[in-house]
Symmetry: C2
Subunit: 458 residues, 2 copies
């Protein structure tokens, strides 16, 4: 089989790149070993958001009941996890169908199987029955994504110790859940099962939750989760985690043990870069296994790597953005180096987190005079009306120029793209009035944070 | 009392203008006859959003129950309207206190009473006890806002026939409510009381709900409300509405009568421009009573009018934006005519509406080649995860340039400021990739609508 472009991996990076390439008239073959949509659709963002969405009314009822605005019996309101699993499967199947149709309509050839580069210009795809298709290509995009990382002492076994993919398949909610890892996945899955009635213990080895986010955000989130009765073990290390007599038994380095019905290991992601013949076409991997790319996302001659597998930003929308760039480049429509710039990031749930641009620590690392300004969402009328007047928006300035905005609070994921635009534009307070921030909205909190007095960071 | 600037009215226009003026070193007196915050805080947006916020879990439970994701007994979950009224009073009182402190800190003098211009440069303020304070000013800003409009045949009596302010004070939810007027206030209050168990009948004389919005938006909303069991009488006219034996009795022009526990009259707003001596200082009113202003928001020599009272855009954030402009002008920092540009607008609730820029009809009226492009939110993963995969985003193009974005759907008010930015920037599809639309978010729906195929409007 000959083609101009072969794309390996049909997650957000590869799928969108294939469609874009076909739209530009490039003869494209898309290779996928498992499901269209990759981790995001099948075992990541989408099912997690569905679980968070369906369980959100429970959290919202509890919040309003605390203020006595709503009266109800918590025992009488239940999320049906089997119904949710059913809906998840239907939703994903429906999306697979729609994606297949889009590929067909666009004229992209889909080849199911595991791709492996055997020589420059040749990718061999082995299907489930062992049949092999050889694809001769001019350009290739590697978009194979990443999977869950773990360590031998805490390796998920699929019994009581689960990885993020396995926990999304539970049909019965655990009564207790211990989570190793305080990143986005641990926080979001903890919130789902907390709402479904589980007592949550979360262990994070770093000194704050969400280690990639602002310490103030991580600290603020920890307070909120403690209020929600989570047991947090921050800055503590796990020695081992295994299933014993059907239950998860976690042993801390201190020797203390914590037992729970189930455990979730969410300690990061590792690239899917092995076994696909990257060495045969001259690609190099870094010490963690990510594919090295140059400023044009080139991994080797005529080979590009986009998305999680290149390690630049492990987010679905970053993969899509990179994929679009590479296709423009292959089509001769792009001569500039790849500029990801300000990539927005969110953590979803009752207490959300969003960031666009730098954290305070990143800004200090970058150098220059760093200042911060803050706005407390307690003073935001929209947040008050949601009975969610807590959290804050924090702006980071370097030498007087806006360099980042982070926020913690109910619904702040809705702010992320607007925040990104403001940071990309390096908006100044003098120019804020060129936009009208609708009232009452959370958006006003962004403007207030930018207008607030700045304080120097030592 | 002498001052450089007197501001009459402490709603969003006047209050923010007074603070901004004080920040620029202008000696400012703020005059308010009733409560700080105006209609928006006391009898408008804020209490309505609080009522919508507190009742939202009921709607959300029902949505998820339809999909069998949540099981509950609807009878066992109740919003306490007395508790809500209590919280409303506390929230507003707390905001009054915070606003008073902000004025004090900024050095703005607050004078309570009804202001009346008696001659150029002189405003007399009469307090509740009849005492009069005479204020000599150099510049004045009229920001007296607007009140509820009605007609003699349907005049609210405060018994069973209520205006939008009176209905916000109910301590017991009606079992049936008839609403005259299908604008934002009618829709939002109808939603509140529908959630609280009332059967809703809504009469709108124009040919679609939300007459200022896109017909497609109004039509789509009508379908959703019918699904929610509202009785809609669109394109029909009311002959009379009055309280009889304690109940509201509405008679249609056809002679048909509709009875309900309560009725809400929400047929528009009328400016608070009478009795404040505007004629004494040379201001003119238009036929509906709005203060006429020039391109600099000047209503007469040294007199500016901002907010609802000038009739330009009856929205809190438009008032604030105009107030800031006028203060910059008075301070000698602004020489350009006022450019409101794209003013965002929302209708809140379970099925929200937002608009930034022109509707299709406005674009056709403006002339040029008009095209529209649409994206159905059923295909937006975030909307799907909220069990709210319905509604759409519609983009309007004139001669190939983006001129407006409207949306209907769950949570679309969160899109409004970002949509405004895209319309103000006249973003092109080629340049969309300069931003990264976070995944999964509703924001992606904006990008999808802009990328969708365009169809010409006849």
């Amino acid at each position: 089989m000959d083609c101009a472009l072969v794309v390996v991996g049909a997650g957000p990076g590869g799928f969108d790149a294939a469609l874009e390439a076909a739209a530009l008239g490039i003869e494209t073959v898309l290779v996928e070993r498992e499901n269209l949509g990759g981790t995001c659709l099948n075992w990541g963002c989408i099912p997690t958001k569905l679980f968070l969405g369906a369980s959100a009314p429970l959290a919202s009822l509890a919040d309003h009941a605390k203020l006595k605005l709503i009266e109800y019996d918590p025992e009488s309101v239940r999320v049906s996890l089997p119904a949710l699993q059913n809906r998840k499967r239907k939703l994903i199947a429906g999306t697979h169908k729609a994606m297949t149709q889009r590929l067909k309509k666009a004229g992209v050839t889909l080849v199911q199987g595991s791709g492996r580069f055997t020589a420059p210009g040749v990718l061999e795809v082995e299907d489930a029955e062992g049949g092999v298709t050889s694809i001769q290509y001019k350009d290739a995009i590697v978009a194979t994504g990443a999977g869950s990382a773990s360590f031998p002492a805490i390796a998920p076994d699929g019994d009581a110790v689960l990885d993020p993919q396995q926990i999304l398949d539970l049909e019965t909610p655990p009564e207790s859940l211990v989570i190793v890892g305080g990143g986005a996945i641990g926080i979001e899955m903890g919130e789902v099962f907390s709402r479904l009635g589980a007592s949550i213990t979360l262990v994070e080895a770093m000194d704050h939750l969400l280690p990639y986010e602002d310490t103030e955000i991580g600290g603020g989130l920890a307070k909120l989760l403690k209020r929600d009765k989570w047991a947090l073990r921050i800055g503590e290390r796990v020695a081992s985690l295994k299933t014993m007599d059907g239950r998860a038994v976690l042993t801390m380095e201190s020797g203390e043990t914590i037992e729970a019905d189930k455990a979730l290991v969410a300690v990061g992601r590792k690239p899917n870069s092995a076994g696909i013949g990257l060495e045969a076409v001259g690609c190099e991997l870094d010490s963690r296994g990510f594919v090295k790319t140059d400023e044009n996302l080139n991994a080797a001659k005529n080979i590009y790597a986009v998305g999680d597998v290149n390690g630049i930003a492990l987010l679905a929308h970053a993969a899509t953005h990179q994929g679009h760039y590479v296709v423009r480049r292959i089509a001769g429509r792009e001569e500039q180096p790849y500029a990801g710039g300000v990539i927005p990031a969110c953590v979803y749930g009752s207490h959300e987190v969003m960031r666009a641009g730098l954290t305070e620590a990143m800004a200090v690392e970058a150098g220059g005079t760093v200042e911060v300004s803050r706005f407390q969402l307690a003073a935001n009328p929209y947040a008050q009306a949601q009975s969610a007047g807590y959290g804050f928006v924090k702006a980071i300035w370097i030498n007087g120029t806006l360099a980042g905005i982070s926020a913690l609070g109910h619904g702040v994921s809705h702010l992320v793209t607007l925040a990104e635009v403001l940071v990309r534009e390096k908006i100044t307070v003098d120019r804020l009035d060129r936009y009208v921030f609708a009232h009452p909205t959370l958006d006003e909190g962004l403007a207030e944070a930018l207008r607030a007095p700045r304080e120097a960071v030592s």
